[in-house]
Subunit: 330 residues, 2 copies
């Protein structure tokens, strides 16, 4: 098997590359070759087969054609300018998130016009394709009314994926990832950052800031679940998807209060005391427009599995990022 990962230097891309390299197989077939591409050279995990890591801008001329020249069997397309940057730089967002995605799809179509070629393409979309009106629980057949350019670009990607798949140019599947928690690494300035940092920092004995009320509800999955979703999407039978080629992944609907309670159960009061309340009206206003819960029964019926409690999400983080140890507090 020949596998291409575009966006392999990102957090999920790295975890996916490692998982594939470690397994050495996908869907029961041995992996012969992996190509890891991103705007910067991705890290190369230990791998027995052929592995190439390269820096490439998907939106530049011929980039997509050169990436599909080796005719990968599975293409993971994770590359994107993130929400905040796509909102601040309109042209860059459209160039990378729309034109980049379309060039990839076009490169595959044109390769297939020369000689039969129908790879699986796994496209990561996002729950921000849903904007207003937002019901308390959002189904896969809810309308796409994104409130950001990033959400618009992802929604367009979903539509293109469905049309190219319907025409038989490739076998596409889109997955809408929940908000990832606990994101490993340092605190960042994203509005959603606190959903991870209020757990991640206390687990290593550091203080974290909570800018919103404990009643705020949102939709979560761990990085490990996100990796699992991608692997499953790469091999499942797409025959039953019909024209709805993109699925909302199973997540956990939880409040900030639920997160804190789970932290208390796993790491005690010493940990929860490190969360400092510092209300920030701007962040609260942004979060107020975000979805709270989804009906992901369609994805579940197809075998996608998320987490069922925030304790599970915290334990995943402790196992995968903290070498199974929670720091002792004073």
């Amino acid at each position: 098997m020949n596998i291409l990962i575009i966006g392999a230097a990102g957090m999920i891309g790295r975890k996916l590359s490692c998982a594939l390299a470690e397994a050495g197989r996908l869907g029961g077939r041995p992996i012969r070759r992996m190509t890891l591409a991103d705007i910067v050279v991705p890290e190369r995990p230990d791998f027995d087969g052929e592995i190439e890591a390269m820096a490439i801008d998907l939106s530049s001329a011929d980039a997509a054609a050169s990436l599909v020249a080796s005719r990968p069997d599975v293409i993971f397309h994770l590359a994107a300018i993130v929400s905040g940057e796509a909102e601040a730089d309109f042209e860059k967002g459209y160039r990378v998130n729309l034109d980049g995605t379309r060039s990839l799809f076009e490169a595959v179509r044109l390769a297939g016009a020369k000689r039969s070629y129908t790879p699986r393409i796994v496209f990561t979309s996002s729950i921000v394709v849903f904007g207003e009106p937002l019901p308390p629980v959002i189904s896969d057949t809810h309308c796409l009314t994104p409130l950001t350019s990033y959400g618009t670009q992802k929604a367009i990607g979903e539509l293109l994926l469905a049309d190219y798949s319907r025409k038989g140019f490739f076998d596409g599947i889109g997955i809408r990832l929940p908000t990832i928690s606990i994101r490993p690494g340092k605190p960042n300035k994203a509005a959603s950052g606190f959903f991870s940092s209020i757990l991640r920092e206390p687990l290593i004995g550091e203080e974290a800031i909570l800018p919103v009320s404990e009643t705020v509800r949102h939709w979560f999955a761990s990085p490990r679940a996100a990796t699992r979703f991608l692997l499953h999407a790469a091999t499942l039978d797409t025959g039953s998807l019909g024209q709805l080629r993109t699925l909302t992944m199973p997540g956990l609907s939880a409040t900030v209060g639920d997160q804190i309670e789970a932290l208390r159960r796993v790491a005690g009061d010493a940990a929860t005391k490190l969360i400092r309340r510092e209300p920030d009206e701007m962040i609260a206003a942004i979060i107020a427009g975000w979805p709270q819960s989804f009906d992901a029964r369609r994805a579940e019926a197809l075998g996608f599995r998320g987490e069922t409690s925030f304790e599970e999400i915290i334990r995943v983080h402790i196992e995968d990022e903290l070498e199974n140890r929670v720091r002792e507090h004073a």
Copy 2:
């Protein structure tokens, strides 16, 4: 007022140009200048002000920039490769319907970057943005799952229209037109052609073929109503649209049997006897996937008015296309 109509040579484009030229005003303001553009030179209606008619390919380089150079106050964007052709010629459909629309939006954005410019853009979308699953009555918040490349391109146009409007690059409104009946002119090979021809031909004493059952239900408006929708969309207050910038226009949900009964009431048995049943399974299968009825209350609340009976639709045709005369039958 300076008005630009792109797609002015089409049936609706011609009626819109004539209506504007005749009124000489739009939303209470006098029209100083009209530009009529299409892939062929559009007919030029009698008009007291400045009028220009030109052949231009919207998807060619600089076409859009040259069209907006005079900074029209209102832009009607009706141009599109139709459904059958967009399905048969994938590249042409995307080039005109997606890239052409995007170039127009980009040209307006870039003109506004130089000097403040926020025109009203009226974009014609279509009910074929809705595919499967299709409930019996489809609301404005139903998901976009087009089953054709044309429908995909229109759905993407809707998303771009909403995002550019949200960013303040222009003041966009999209309208999803019902199937137009009675289309003037000659019978054509479109699968939907019989919805017009079974009325249009008998009204001039000619035979028409009905390829489907009388129980087939669909969603209709007259060409006069379509023109009225465009004029209203050009002037209404878009403040209440929110992110749902595209509206399904009010139509009449009617069966083929309803159409025939209305023809009988208007033109008698002599007319309905000219309808010859010739079942065509291929056409029946295509039509089976089409929507039957919509909830257009949102558009109605904003002042859009369709027809309420098929007799009204037939009388509109007799007034507008047959100089108010129905041919006498033997």
